[in-house]
């Protein structure tokens, strides 16, 4: 290795390289959704002003629902791929890695579908409301 130079490698196009790249792609995308979401909901609006009525009101705008879906999809995908990356440090056998990936994929699917159904379905009317 030459003085002051960094070793560069040409990554082989394996599935691991695709997970690696996917973390970075979702990483860039999600910044666009997460920072505004956190600043608006946690800092400006605040948890004491959030309830089902508030959610129903902001979801009247379809663009907010699109935003929230993209937020949900990029963050949770990134999170589950990231968790997989961490777990791969502990699970080394090919069968163990396969099982881990499948368990994470099922959790990812179920939770993503739950969130998406809520965004599409909107706030259910409460009895007596």
């Amino acid at each position: 290795m030459a003085e002051g130079k960094v070793r560069t490698v040409q990554p082989v196009a394996t599935s691991e390289a695709r997970w690696w790249l996917w973390l970075r792609i979702t990483g860039v995308l999600m910044v666009l959704f997460v920072f505004p979401h956190v600043i608006i909901k946690d800092v400006i609006v605040g948890v004491h002003n959030i309830d089902t009525e508030y959610v129903a009101q902001v979801w009247e705008n379809v663009l907010v629902r699109v935003f929230d879906f993209l937020l949900l999809f990029t963050t949770f995908t990134h999170g589950m791929v990231g968790l997989r990356q961490v777990l791969m440090d502990f699970v080394h056998s090919p069968s163990g890695r396969k099982t881990t990936t499948w368990i994470l994929a099922v959790i990812w699917f179920v939770v993503t579908v739950m969130g998406t159904m809520a965004i599409i379905g909107g706030v259910s009317l409460q009895p007596g409301a």
Binding site: T52, G79, V86, G115, M117, A118, G122
Partner: protein, 136 residues
């Protein structure tokens, strides 16, 4: 499954500045993911069970959760800025992984995440005081 002790010992034993960023990135990432998973499920209650949603919000309004929320926001800022650093280095400027720049950037990211967080922490801290100590 390998012996987890081996991996943990490796995490703790390799001491370099990059290691600090690596560990903080993983800890904040896992913490945020745990909250995110719960948060997606409780938000979906607006559709599946609205009365449970209001119950979940009541929990988030409690003192320990509001304080946790302040730290969660720092974790999001840190993880986001450090993630962007990694992405810029990996995909665009691999020569910046050269030691000097890589080490300095770890501290820059830490400082940036705290500076971005302070105004948010101040506003959220005010909300904690107003709602829990001033009879709000």
């Amino acid at each position: 499954m390998s012996d987890p002790k081996t991996t943990f010992t490796g995490y703790a034993r390799y001491r370099a500045t990059g290691q600090l960023a690596f560990l903080l990135h993983r800890i904040t990432g896992l913490g945020i993911l745990l909250f995110l998973l719960i948060h997606i499920v409780d938000t979906s209650f607006v559709y599946f069970a609205p009365e449970l949603y209001d119950h979940a919000i009541q929990i988030y309004r409690s003192l320990p959760f509001m304080i946790g929320e302040i730290f969660l926001v720092w974790a999001v800022f840190y993880h986001g800025f450090n993630g962007l650093r990694i992405i810029i280095f990996d995909l665009w400027k691999p020569e910046w992984w050269e030691k000097d720049i890589a080490v300095k950037s770890v501290y820059w990211v830490l400082v940036l995440s705290i500076l971005a967080w302070l105004p948010a922490a101040f506003i959220m801290g005010k909300a904690v005081i107003e709602n829990h100590f001033l009879g709000g």
